[in-house]
Structure formats: structure tokens, C-alpha cells
Symmetry: C2
Subunit: 331 residues, 2 copies
């Protein structure tokens, strides 16, 4: 099944580029409210399911044992920008378990927050694994492994107890089995498990509403949602879409992007989950898709409007075009 | 008319993302050798036509008056990476015309060459318009305006003599008229004129073969091609696709990318021009498309093979997938 163009990028009077996408919004029973394009073929959710991956941290008892508050739990759910307090938070998480940066196997990249990267350069300091956007998630895995007594060295392997538990959690929330052929390796070296958008949307509805979950898992979902709502800056960073949305809407909206054009979210009050994939992997278009889907579900809102139809500017700040939703996306 | 998927991005056993594209390879008479997808709808070529925009600099006599050699001419054709010798070259171009950085209206961004950006940060220096990837092209426009006695302050306007001449040159090389409704503003504030891929491919064939051009224009094409072949580092930068290709193939291959997934080129020996547009604007896919098109036209080659099917790696360097051409692209 094909996917329609959902976002057009214009310049002058012409459409310069086009982004196809697929969208599913569903409730915890799996009933679709919105279904656009191919919602049945498995896609890799990448970082969009970090809040589900972080359930292991809470359910294992590690979050309690290491006295993690909202900031640490939001970091476990984060693709953070590598700003100083993100880095300090991850370092603190590791220290509570008696670990340090050397335990992280996510790899290294410069902070995506440019001023933070520049500050490192000015100080003559290298980027470390702590600056990797996934370092909070990895710290969470390591803490769960410590608390559970499993081996630390192999925590990124699909066969490790922590990753096996992540897989079981995803299957539980999505009410779907993950095919062994649908396991890839993520950018930060952990497994990523492909699921259809319909199953991912359902899983996010369950993350938001806890329907049919064991009490311990339901409580863990509640605790992670509350952490992201309370400390949304730790879940992403300064000026970023996810942080701005969660700062504005609080517990009403949980959103998380993933590499290659994935965006997912939960609207607990409405009992809905959202899963979006931009076919070509463009994050810029996935954000526009999410903003427009949220407008359909929540209604008009100035913050959403800003992201739903952003201007394209040249290097001197002149508006030269826009990214706009197509009728298929507007519904 | 639709555009087929030409590049797939895989992870594990699944295709994670897909890039649609259109390709035209044509001779100077406009006869297509390869035509994939929509080659008839106008697209903005953006920076891909910088060598054509630089013809004004040579034809105006400015390149002679200011004693420009291959490095300066390659910079006028460049999307450069902002490395120190790029910046020094552009500064030299401006100085020869009695100008400096303040004359540039391209806007400012950090060097795309990360070590060069970091060196600025370490030295506590700001990025300037000289670091903008288009600064060499803008210096060329300014020098042409100086030599032609036209106003400097308005050189980026579509109504300025230099931009009107660029438009006439594009129409001459493409043997096509540019519709007034198909003029946009580029990222560096100059006009960008939309043409169909078929017309752009033909224009590049003419840039390479000079068929039917007035002697002065033919000589200018020859001089700019020779400059890019002699100084390909000045046309892009360290480790970049265009520089690597032109370093390897010399005068046999002229290639130039543009924003939003455009890639164009000329194969003078074969009398062919190439024009490619990735529908979603992804530069990563446009490069893969160009590498595969060149393999079809030139034959197997280790350098092209490296770019024709690049590995996707995670942050620790492990291969986790690949970008691969589809049968439609392989032909």
C-alpha cells in the first residue's frame, strides 16, 4: 500500500520538495481514529519508544534503589541535546550505580545543542559518550542491569536480559508479536524492534492509559509520563519541538521523535496513541506531521500552529517558502 | 507523472526509508539517454547551476580584469565548506575589486567543515559571510557588477543586470524559456530559476560541449570547466563527493550539488548532461543517485562504487544497513 504526500515544501510559487508519510492514531483496543497510508508494514520506531524502553529501569526497582527523580527518569526517556545539565544528570545516574562514562556503549557524538558543543571546543574538551543523545537511555539500561544482577558488558545485545525485557514490554503494550526478522541495530548499538504503525499507536495509547497492564507496569507508565511532564527539558532540550510541546501541554501530551522520520505520542486524557513515519526519513517533515495530527486531535493552538506550517527562510531571515500540510494530512 | 523510488535505506533485513527521484541524462540536442520519473516539471536547481551563474563573471571581463586563476574561478562555481583557504580565496576575490566581506549579501553560517568551524570557536572568532558556502559565487557576482558598472547594493535582486544576465545564460544553455512564475529566492538571497530536469540536463550538455554558443560564452564554459578540473578542492572541500569525483576524473566529469536534493553534472567527452532531483530534498540520496548514474555512463569504478551503495553505520562504526539503488535507478 502506498503512502500519500503529507507535507509539501514550497519556494516562491512552486512546490520544491515533497514528503510522503503514514499516520496511525488508535485507542488501547486498537481501534483507529486516523489511519493514513501504510499502517500495517513494520517500521523501526528507533528512539520514539524510549519511554517504553525506560519501563525496564522502573519495573526492575533500579529507579527506586538509585533514588531517581523526575529529571533522571526523563533523561532515561530522552533524546537529549547534550547540554551541560543533561550530561550532569546522566553522570549522576551512572554514579548512583557505581558506574561512569566508561560503561556507556552508545558511542560518541558532539552535543546537538550548538552552544554546548562550542563550549566544549572552547574549553579544549572532547565529546564523550555522555553527550550522545541516547546516554540517558543507556544509563537506564545499565542501572537496570545492575539492579537485576545481569552482566554489564553485554547490555546492548539483543540476547541480554534487559533487551529481552524491552522486547517483551513492547509486545505487551502493542498487543503484537515482534518477528525475529524485524530486529535491527539502532544508531546507539541497541536492538530496535520493528512494529506496524497501528501496533505502535496502540502501544502508546496503552502507555498513556495503562489498560490491561499488570499493576507494577501500569505504575511505571504513570511514573515515566509524570516525569516527562514535570521535566520536559530533560526529555529533549532547549527550543526543541518535544520539549516545547510537553512544557505547554504538561501531562496531556507525551511526544517522542525517532531517527529516520519517526514521531510517536500519547494523549492520555483522550485515550489515544499516535505513530507517524515519514517515508524518506526526514525529521523536519515528521514534526510537521505530528503538529498537524495534534491539531486534529486537540484543536487549534498557537504553539501547534507554529510547528504545523513553518516558514522556510533564507540565511538572511527572509521568508522564501513554507512547509505545509496537504489535504490528506489535514483530514 | 510520478517518480519511482530510486534509493532504499535498509537496517537489518528491512527497508527503513525510501527516496523517490527523477533523473535526466541528455545530449546538447536535448535527446534523452536516460529519463526516469518526471523530467518535465520545473524544479529549482539551486546551487547546482553555479558554474552557469559564474559565466557572468568570465564573460563580463571581470575574471581577466581581476586576474582570477583556477582557484578563484572554482570558488565562483563552489558550494565550499568554509575551510581557511576557501575563505582566503573569497577575500582575495573581493579585494581585487576593492571590496570586502561587507559587500556580501549571502548571509552567514558556520563552516560546514567541522574542524574549520571548531578552529573559529577556539579562536573566539565569529562566522562571517565569507564562511557561507555561496560566498565565492557572491564574490563573482560582485566582481561582475563592478566590471560592468552596475550597482553593487542590489546585486541579489532578480531585476539587477547580473541576475538578468544569469537568467539569459540559463535560457540560452537550456534552450528553454524560464517562466516568470518559476522564480524563487535561494538560501543565499539570489534568484533561483526553475527549469525541467530535461532542460537542465541539456544545459549541462551544452556547458560541457559548447554547442551553438557564441565564441565568448563557449570560451567561458571551457575556462570554468578547466578551473574546476584543476582546483576541485575549491569547488567543494575536503572529503566531499564533488571534490573527490572531480579530483579523480579531472576534466571528464563536472558535478555540482544543490540544496533540496539536486545534483547536476556534465560529461564533456560523451557530450552528455545530467540532472537529478530527489523528490524529498535529501542530499544523501541525491549523491547515491548521481554515483549510480555515473556508473551507468562511465562504467564500474572503485570511487563511484563507494558512493553508489554506501554503508549505514551506527555511532560505534558498526555497519547496520546500507543505502542501495533500486532496479529503476540501476536501469
Amino acid at each position: 500500500m502506498g503512502n500519500p504526500v503529507l507535507v509539501e515544501v514550497t519556494r516562491g510559487g512552486l512546490t520544491e520538495s515533497r514528503h510522503e508519510g503514514a499516520v496511525c492514531v488508535a485507542d488501547a483496543a486498537g481501534k483507529s481514529v486516523i489511519a493514513i497510508g501504510d499502517v500495517a508494514t513494520p517500521i523501526f520506531p528507533r528512539s520514539a519508544v524510549k519511554a517504553m524502553q525506560a519501563l525496564v529501569l522502573v519495573e526492575s526497582g533500579a529507579a527506586d534503589r538509585y533514588r531517581f527523580g523526575d529529571a533522571e527518569l526523563a533523561l532515561a526517556c530522552a533524546s537529549h541535546a547534550g547540554e551541560p545539565d543533561h550530561v550532569a544528570g546522566v553522570e549522576r545516574m551512572l554514579a548512583r550505580a557505581g558506574l561512569d562514562v566508561d560503561a556507556l556503549q552508545c558511542g560518541t557524538h558532539w552535543p546537538t545543542h550548538r552552544p554546548s558543543a562550542d563550549a566544549l571546543v572552547r574549553a579544549g574538551l572532547p565529546a564523550t559518550a555522555l553527550h550522545h543523545n541516547c546516554s540517558g537511555k543507556h544509563a537506564g539500561f545499565l542501572c537496570a542491569a545492575c539492579a537485576g544482577g545481569s552482566e554489564l558488558r553485554t547490555y546492548t545485545a539483543a540476547t541480554h536480559a534487559v533487551q529481552r525485557e524491552v522486547r517483551a514490554i513492547l509486545e505487551n503494550l502493542a498487543r503484537s508479536r515482534i518477528d525475529d526478522r524485524h530486529v535491527g541495530i539502532d544508531g546507539c548499538s541497541i536492538p530496535t524492534f520493528a512494529l506496524p504503525l497501528a501496533a505502535l499507536a496502540r502501544a502508546f495509547a496503552v502507555l498513556g492509559g495503562e489498560q490491561g497492564l499488570a499493576p507494577r507496569r501500569a505504575a511505571a507508565c504513570r511514573r515515566l509520563r509524570a516525569a516527562c511532564a514535570a521535566k520536559p527539558w530533560y526529555a529533549a532540550g532547549t527550543g526543541l519541538f518535544a520539549t516545547e510541546l510537553m512544557s505547554h501541554f504538561g501531562a496531556r501530551v507525551l511526544v517522542k521523535g525517532g531517527a529516520e522520520g519517526v514521531y510517536c505520542g500519547a494523549l492520555p486524557e483522550q485515550g489515544l496513541g499516535i505513530a507517524i513515519k515519514c517515508v524518506d526519513g526526514a525529521g523536519r517533515a515528521a514534526e510537521v506531521m505530528m503538529a498537524n495530527v495534534l491539531m486534529r486531535l486537540i484543536g487549534e493552538n498557537p504553539l501547534l500552529a507554529k510547528y504545523a506550517r513553518p516558514a522556510v527562510r533564507n540565511w538572511r531571515g527572509t521568508v522564501v517558502g513554507e512547509m505545509r500540510p496537504t489535504p490528506e494530512l489535514l483530514g
